[in-house]
């Protein structure tokens, strides 16, 4: 972490970078068994469900897991070594991407998701106070999402709720509003991470064949969700709700805001509750993580996009561990202007995840 060592105003853990996107790896369904009740344990063993892998993030690809990180092991120790050790983060947010969203049987999906959240808590959060996590939401069933938030939402180790960019329905739809209402009350941002339940094709054209298309098409999912959240009026109804787009790419946003704003000017009568330009709403309520950026490598290449977004509060530091986003140990991409490093690494994550501040106080207490 060049910044942590060169800039003496930054002093761990209070002034260390906050890594907003770290992926714990679930070793397989066997790891979740202890967190399932006997009925679902039997279902898992009788059916021989070994894993919930999808086409997304093929587990043995070097792109999914960096070679050097794989060699160190993807368990807690391996993650700590990279994220807190080599990369110098002071705190990290775990976003567990495991195929629980793909399960069609809602009861099973809910059971697996609960087990996943309990596994995250027991195997990761409870073993390192620098870790926070997202509550994975079982979006197959809205009432179950509410129950999960009732069960875990007051636990300060959880700082966000997590859904995938491509789910059953656009997230602005009103059947989901009780969930957003609860998140706003709990002061938990909604994290939307790249990925799909694969209940719909990832492109509107239908199913595609190749992983490369699947991954590139995630952008369309993010765009559709963003447009839908804005136009359905979620941020009018729940103005304090923050949405974090995670692993979404960044540079597509200015063009998309431009397009949305332009059409809003002409046809806004259709959605009269959207009473200010979509870009203003997005600036107030939405954040993005920095990996991947989708920008050329040269220095300051991102400045233009940041100028167009018109906000320096927008980007959140993230390594995307253990995905291959960068070689070596420079998490901060060279194309991000130096002047923004502190905001992106520390101030913006703190402002977005209010609960992290409480955890920091505890950490200092421990020290």
């Amino acid at each position: 972490m060049p910044l942590a060592s060169e800039d003496k105003s930054i002093d761990c853990p209070i002034d260390c970078p906050i890594d907003c996107d770290v992926h714990p790896t679930v070793p397989g369904m066997m790891a979740l068994l202890p967190y399932l009740d006997p009925h679902w344990q039997e279902q898992v063993t009788d059916r021989g469900i070994l894993s919930l892998d999808s086409i997304a993030y093929p587990p043995n690809l070097d792109f999914t897991v960096r070679r050097d990180l794989r060699a160190k092991g993807l368990d807690l120790a391996g993650m700590q070594d990279a994220v807190f050790g080599r990369w110098g983060a002071g705190q990290a947010i775990l976003n567990c991407i495991y195929g629980v969203q793909m399960v069609h049987n809602a009861d099973m999906g809910v059971a697996f998701t609960r087990a996943l959240n309990d596994w995250i808590k027991a195997q990761w959060l409870d073993r390192d106070p620098r870790l926070a996590a997202s509550i994975v939401l079982p979006m197959q069933d809205t009432p179950a999402c509410l129950e999960e938030l009732d069960r875990l939402g007051s636990n300060r180790q959880f700082v966000q709720a997590l859904v995938l960019a491509n789910g059953e329905e656009p997230y602005g739809k009103r059947q989901y509003w009780p969930i957003w209402e609860k998140l706003e009350k709990l002061n938990l941002p909604l994290g939307i991470h790249a990925g799909s339940s694969y209940h719909n094709p990832v492109t509107t054209l239908g199913w595609t064949n190749y992983y490369i298309e699947d991954y590139a098409a995630q952008t369309f999912g993010f765009q559709a969700q963003l447009a839908n959240l804005v136009t359905e009026g979620v941020f009018v109804k729940y103005p304090q709700l923050k949405v974090v787009l995670i692993e979404s790419g960044v540079t597509w946003l200015p063009g998309f805001i431009w397009r949305l704003a332009k059409f809003w000017r002409g046809v806004r009568r259709e959605v009269p509750w959207v009473d200010r330009p979509p870009g203003d709403i997005i600036r107030d309520n939405v954040r993005m993580t920095i990996q991947p950026l989708d920008a050329p490598d040269e220095a300051n290449a991102l400045q233009k996009a940041i100028d167009q977004i018109q906000s320096e509060d927008f980007l959140l530091y993230a390594s995307d561990y253990p995905h291959l986003r960068f070689e070596g140990d420079d998490v901060m991409p060279p194309n991000i202007p130096d002047s923004l490093h502190r905001k992106i690494m520390i101030d913006n994550p703190r402002a977005t995840y209010k609960r992290l501040a409480d955890m920091q106080t505890d950490l200092v207490g421990v020290r």
Binding site: V236, R268, P272
Partner: protein
């Protein structure tokens, strides 16, 4: 600067509109339920002729899913890209602070008064003492 008689009141009945030229400007004049409005005809966006746009109400909403129909026909919608302008203030609905169309003072005067006044400019038709006229001040 001055007063311009732009139409006989009888030729601009309720619900009608007229595009007129005065002092090199093109101006759209509307009669909405007996009230007159005059604005620059040229849309500040890309120049659509507002006189050919559609008059509309303003639908407002306090919460998503509610629609309140207000101020019927007090907004003009540009025929090109649909931006709406408030006939009372000239302000656009989408960007009221920076995007607006110029308003002109418009009213009806009796022919007798007009003839008595010597300040009239650029009449294109005769003013008769017994009729009413729509007058714009530029």
């Amino acid at each position: 600067m001055g007063k311009h008689v732009v139409a006989a009141a009888a030729d601009l009945p309720q619900g009608s509109r007229k595009r007129i030229e005065a002092e090199g400007r093109v101006i759209a004049v509307f009669n909405v339920r007996g009230e007159y409005f005059a604005i620059n005809d040229r849309c500040p966006h890309e120049g659509g002729s507002l006189c050919t746009g559609r008059l509309s109400a303003l639908t407002v909403s306090k919460v998503p899913g509610s629609y309140e129909w207000t101020r019927e026909d007090e907004f003009i919608r540009c025929p090109w890209h649909g931006w709406e302008f408030d006939l009372r203030t000239g302000r656009s609905v989408c960007d009221p602070k920076t995007m607006r169309v110029r308003l002109y003072d418009v009213h009806v005067e009796h022919g007798e008064e007009l003839v008595a006044e010597k300040t009239l400019v650029a009449e294109t038709f005769p003013v008769r003492v017994e009729d009413d006229y729509v007058v714009i001040e530029i």
